[in-house]
């Protein structure tokens, strides 16, 4: 087995129109990978970014130890950004996926997000009332299967600071 340490944090989000944002994240990896230590999913706090800055700061820590028996299914981080209004309602702002870097060292990973769009009326209602379409299964976020029928709009981006430590890959002939 080879081990991959992922140490870092979910720094924050940028370029979202909404103000009170929080993020749900989860690590997704293939069947040949096994989580040894650390939380594989989590949820940040709600950060109310101050104007004129459009940056939400979470600094949510990530510390994972994963071992693998093969390279298939290299781990990814799936993020779902939500907004919370003054009434406590939570609406989707964006989905995104970012592949964990495969080289040791510090990496700043930018994960661009998108959100599903509905019809004109649904978009109008989302703008004034809230709500909006969401995907039923999160598998669509990280799946490369057919996505053609899914119409989306660009959202903001989520910034991750990740430190990668790799051990034992070279023993199995892996050159990164």
């Amino acid at each position: 087995m080879a081990e991959l340490h992922i140490i870092g944090r979910l720094r924050g989000a940028e370029d979202f129109k909404e103000r009170a944002l929080f993020c749900k994240w989860a690590l997704q990896c293939g069947s040949g990978w096994r989580i040894i230590a650390g939380q594989t999913d989590g949820q940040t706090q709600v950060d109310r970014c101050q104007q004129p800055l459009d940056t939400a700061t979470w600094c949510h820590p990530i510390d994972l130890l994963i071992v693998c028996r093969g390279l298939q299914g290299w781990p990814r981080i799936v993020v779902q950004v939500y907004r919370e209004d003054w009434y406590g309602r939570r609406d989707l702002c964006g989905y995104g996926v970012a592949t964990i870097p495969s080289t040791p060292g510090h990496h700043t990973v930018t994960c661009h997000t998108w959100r599903p769009t509905g019809t004109f009326l649904e978009e109008l209602r989302r703008e004034f009332v809230g709500g909006g379409p969401q995907i039923l299964s999160t598998d669509y976020i990280f799946s490369a299967s057919e996505r053609y029928k899914l119409r989306t709009a660009p959202a903001g981006k989520v910034i991750l600071d990740l430190g990668i430590i790799m051990r034992g890959f070279d023993k199995h002939g892996v050159m990164s």
Binding site: R147, H172, M175, S176
Partner: protein
């Protein structure tokens, strides 16, 4: 018999919500040598003064090794209410508490236990030492627990009252070869658990940095022991961690699927995303379509999806600029080969726009080499281009009727054609427009059983670059061969 240090009479109380059946206790009992009771052996000190240092250290090491061979040491992990029979227990005692009554000889161990059902623990419960003990004794016990026996179930207390269970760990400290004496048994630890979750431990568990408890046997032999809580809060994970950090295991456990599928050659793994389409010439709904060109000699793994379509993202062109299309299209590709030099897989990407009526129009094309070190995870950009309309009629047709203009040949994109011929060298006659920039983040990993010195060396085998290198090498070999021939001719003439 007395406790030397620290005090073994203090009781510690713990509260737990876990099932007591998961509770484990690790007991380490060790006989102390005389040299361990003081910081340095006087004999060794005298030896250091009188004899040479080498001889003294050798004597000391031999003495310690001899003592270690003769000293008793035992480590045992016990679960809650696990019965360990006294080393020289009678057959009746063994049969009453355990089904294993085959042992009659004294084994090389000293630790044994009394469970809640044993008369010894019942005797402890009946001692009127504390109020709680009296209350436990006076109160009838309630059934429902598998730990208690039939006698306990007959005296079941009301359900709202706790029920206590006792577990005693003892050691037999009699000298070797001597007959058993009742007085040679000493209590190492007494544990009492009630159904409220309270666990009383006398003495307390040994924590990191604590001194072990010391006891003295009937013949003056010194022992030390530790009682540790060996319960695993996360048994699976911690077990896997300990297993993982065994280097032998880490070296062996690698999936054989990779080798089976690839046949032990070179394995190329590409992960990442097609993230955005920047500066798109078309404003509207745009999607990406990708396909992987696999050159001859390479095979894609079964899980690899060599073709795919992204979501349809809305791009806008407003007064503040162009909104890029965000796709975050994840890619996970894996290829195998047994020989390099036939080229590397190439990712072909096409962008298409969809109008309101469902008609499609090509936006641009791009090619991404998947050869290492193509990218190390940083964000990269590749410009997209599309064939420009040559005639005014085609320009009008594209403006009003849209439609896709397919490339006349895939060789404009891929370095090899479908017949595995060398790609076209000249693109003369092809007029194109720059239609945007594709942003991607890909990282490549190589796993090889071939003799490849370094990924950087593989760059020389990239298509395009390899041609010039091959020509230069061929010319060099040709001139060298000529030089050899000329030299041989001169020699024969001589």
């Amino acid at each position: 018999m007395m406790a030397v240090e620290p005090a073994a009479s203090s009781t510690a109380y713990y509260y737990t919500k876990d099932d007591i059946a998961n509770f484990k206790i690790r007991v380490r009992l060790r006989e102390l040598s005389s040299a361990e009771l003081i910081s340095a052996s006087p004999r060794a000190t005298v030896g250091l003064l009188s004899a040479s240092k080498a001889e003294a250290s050798q004597d000391k090491a031999e003495e310690q090794a001899l003592q270690k061979q003769q000293l008793f040491s035992e480590e045992v992990v016990l679960t809650w209410q696990q019965k360990v029979v006294r080393p020289n227990a009678s057959i009746d005692d063994v049969a009453s508490s355990s089904k294993d009554n085959r042992r009659k000889k004294r084994p090389e161990r000293r630790v044994f236990t009394f469970t809640h059902r044993d008369p010894y623990c019942q005797h402890l419960l009946q001692l009127p030492a504390t109020t709680s003990r009296r209350r436990n004794r006076e109160l009838p016990h309630h059934g429902g627990s598998s730990v208690g026996g039939d006698d306990d179930e007959r005296e079941a207390p009301p359900p709202d009252l706790p029920r206590s269970f006792t577990y005693v760990i003892m050691a037999d400290l009699q000298p070797r070869g001597c007959e058993f004496e009742e007085a040679s048994s000493v209590t190492l630890c007494c544990l009492r658990y009630d159904t409220r979750g309270e666990l009383a431990v006398t003495p307390d568990f040994c924590h990191a940095g604590d001194h072990p408890y010391r006891i003295e046997g009937p013949d003056g032999t010194n022992f030390e022991y530790t009682i540790e809580n060996a319960s695993l809060t996360r048994p699976e994970k911690e077990g896997s961690i300990s297993a993982f950090y065994r280097p032998k295991l880490t070296a062996d456990e690698w999936s054989s699927d990779d080798d089976d599928e690839g046949g032990g050659g070179l394995q190329l793994t590409v992960t990442g995303e097609l993230t955005r389409l920047l500066n798109c010439a078309v404003s509207g709904d745009v999607y990406l379509s990708y396909a992987v060109y696999v050159p001859p000699g390479w095979t894609a793994s079964r899980e690899t999806e060599c073709e795919g379509v992204s979501v349809v993202c809305r791009t806008r062109r407003g007064w503040s600029g162009k909104t890029p299309g965000v796709y975050c299209m994840p890619l996970s590709l894996r290829f195998f080969t047994h020989s390099t030099g036939n080229g590397w897989p190439v990712l072909l990407v096409g962008a298409f726009a969809v109008d309101g009526d469902g008609g499609e129009m090509d936006v641009g094309w791009a090619t991404i080499d998947l050869a290492p070190p193509a990218s190390r995870g940083e964000v990269s950009h590749v410009p997209m281009w599309s064939p420009a309309p040559v005639t005014p009629s085609s320009a009008l047709q594209r403006t009003f009727l849209t439609g896709c203009r397919l490339l006349p040949s895939a060789s404009y994109l891929a370095p090899y054609t479908a017949r595995h011929e060398i790609s076209r060298v000249s693109r003369f006659g092809l007029v194109t427009n720059t239609t945007g920039t594709l942003e991607y983040r890909l990282q490549t990993l190589l796993r090889s059983s071939l003799d490849l010195p370094h990924p950087g060396a593989l760059v020389s085998q990239l298509p395009g670059r390899s041609e010039a290198t091959k020509r230069a090498l061929a010319a060099f070999r040709k001139s060298r061969r000529k030089l050899h021939l000329i030299t041989a001719g001169i020699k024969t003439k001589k």
